[in-house]
Symmetry: C2
Subunit: 337 residues, 2 copies
DNA sequence: CAGATCATTGCAAGCGCTTGCAATGGCTTT
DNA sequence: AAAGCCATTGCAAGCGCTTGCAATGATCTG
């Protein structure tokens, strides 16, 4: 009944468990951290003592002594309706198997809180820091490199990773989309791009491939903020005013694409005959709405798993031969293009 | 260039900063934890020393000594496309202002991993544990109550909270929907419900209100798993086979509702004239798709903020007078009903 | 001007665990 | 039967910080 703050019943400690089991604290410690070192009979007595006392190890103390925190920081821009959620989810699930916890840090779509969050992670002596946003500040990169911490950059493949990168080539995505649309005979693409670095890389990949192949420079619009439905809507209307109407709209996110689609349907524009649409992300909706959306699928969960795999290899003392781990992507052709 | 694991440059400690600033370690500690206690001139020297050494406090050691971890555990079923994300996002953002970090735990939709995650949180001596899933095991509830940790249950208002609850009455939601539909003249509701405890409470609220007001017992279907688009689709088709066709479908999630809607449109059924649909959650899509969805909006971010507010009040030594904090809900009438 | 008050600071004893090293005793091996 | 090996366990010295208590000097107070 009383609020839990007030009852300060004593919390059992390691040595009490040890006393009860008739062994030293060291043995109980080993029971938790290195079970194969303790004899079966002893282990059983310890197990009973733990049970009886309701002992829960103090990992703050343990971490201090061993300088292993069993804490991994996951730093993402946001989780509201983020494309990164599958990655975070996979990471959290994989790591909890190993007895690690994850600190969730939200850097903001502009990554403004990145420095503070990295500090917070280092202050807790995180075993690893996994970021999806970009860390541009050289001082920060150096700080992380100077610490005994694994750093994994995900969802992209920077030329010179801080440590290890798990992701795919955004440029290649753009190129693939260009190639695909060319193959389908489209002539006048219009690009709808968010101003983020990666969306811009995809855009550049598209433009380069398209023009190199003799296509005209695509018309385009960019958006400052995170792209949502509303932007897609507005964009569709703006596009209708264009002197030469595009025959396909290439969006930097499925949200954007979905907005365009909804507005196109409302305007009675036939998709893809009059106007085709391509998205990016393959959200749950993409395959469910009508028309179904042609988009690019990234296996976000796999990115999370691969990242954890790197951590495991490190923990096992193995070297990571290739600092770039490419998980690729898949262009999924559906009804909209 | 070398992987960061290998260069073990020495990490600066508190006393090195102290030496450099010509003060004792205690003073530097106070500089970080209780700045108003140190003289301005001294603070400035310390600041410089911190800067020069690149010192980052070791919060494992600090937490051990002070028995304050500045760690809050957030335990949610999942984050894939979860209705709880706004709550988690708000919490993380609010807490980082106070210098707290949040440990994200995914309990699974059946809450199977809840016990392990609570142990993990207690092992890190979390200052607070915030759960959205239900903690049914009495032993677990007692364990948490016996520890010096604030426990906040969210998204519901259990009769006897472990500590504090922030949420709303699911029963009342069901009742409100029943009242609303009656007001609009609907007669034959059909319920689509996930088997979760809370969805069931809403269902019960609906049924009780509906029948009490003289309505016939609604037809219904329940789903074992997490409800997605696909379930809504399948449900729609099944409903078409019913002997008496319902005039409104009440879904326990927007996903379900959206699936029904998509399938209804495809089948040429006019919404809401031939068939109305009500959802729950007010996802981003609800207002964007056509027809727009009548649903119930929960201010998830507010739940997160209120929870953090409770933590702050506790930290300030204030008592929490009411252990139930009701954030309410809003039924949003749109086109679909 | 003596005594009291206050703002700063340092001392040193922990906080609860981990782990290198050494000790113990039972088994093998020759 | 002596020597060597191995599995198990205990000892004790930290890990890096916080904080109650006491000391110091400065500023007030009457």
């Amino acid at each position: 009944m009383a609020p839990s703050m007030s009852d300060d019943r004593k919390i059992p400690r390691l040595d009490e468990v040890a006393d009860r089991a008739g062994v030293s604290a060291a043995t109980v410690s080993r029971f938790f951290n290195n079970p194969k070192m303790v004899a079966a009979a002893t282990a059983e007595r310890i197990r009973e003592a733990v049970e009886a006392t309701g002992y829960v190890p103090n990992l703050l103390a343990g971490g201090l002594a061993s300088s292993r925190s069993r804490l991994v920081a996951a730093l993402v821009p946001d989780i509201a309706q983020s494309i990164f959620n599958a990655t975070v989810e996979a990471m959290v699930n994989e790591l909890s198997v190993d007895g690690h916890i994850v600190m969730l840090g939200l850097t903001g779509i502009d990554n403004a809180r990145m420095p503070d969050l990295i500090s917070a992670a280092l202050a807790r002596r995180a075993d690893a820091i996994i970021v999806t946003g970009l860390v541009n500040d050289p001082a920060l990169r150096d700080l992380m490199r100077s610490r005994n911490v694994t750093v994994i950059e995900t969802w992209g493949l920077p030329d010179d990773p801080i440590d290890v990168a798990v992701g795919f080539s955004h440029r290649a995505v753009g190129q693939d989309i260009a190639r695909f649309l060319r193959g389908r005979g489209y002539r006048r693409p219009h690009l709808l791009t968010a101003t983020g670095t990666r969306a811009m890389e995809r855009r550049q990949g598209f433009v380069d491939d398209w023009t190199t192949a003799g296509g005209e420079t695509p018309t385009e619009m960019t958006f400052e903020s995170q792209t949502r439905f509303g932007h897609g809507r507005a964009a569709f209307r703006a596009i209708r005013e264009l002197p030469t109407r595009p025959d396909v709209i290439v969006c930097s996110s499925d949200w954007l694409a979905q907005g365009v689609l909804v507005e196109a349907m409302a305007a009675g524009v036939r998709v893809p005959d009059e106007l085709a649409v391509v998205g990016f992300g393959n959200l749950a909706l993409a395959a469910e709405m009508r028309p179904t959306l042609t988009t690019v699928d990234i296996d976000g969960a796999r990115i999370g798993r691969e990242a954890v795999d790197v951590l495991r290899r490190r923990a096992a003392g193995k070297e990571i031969p290739d600092r770039h781990i490419d998980v690729g992507f898949r262009l999924i052709a559906r009804e909209s293009a």
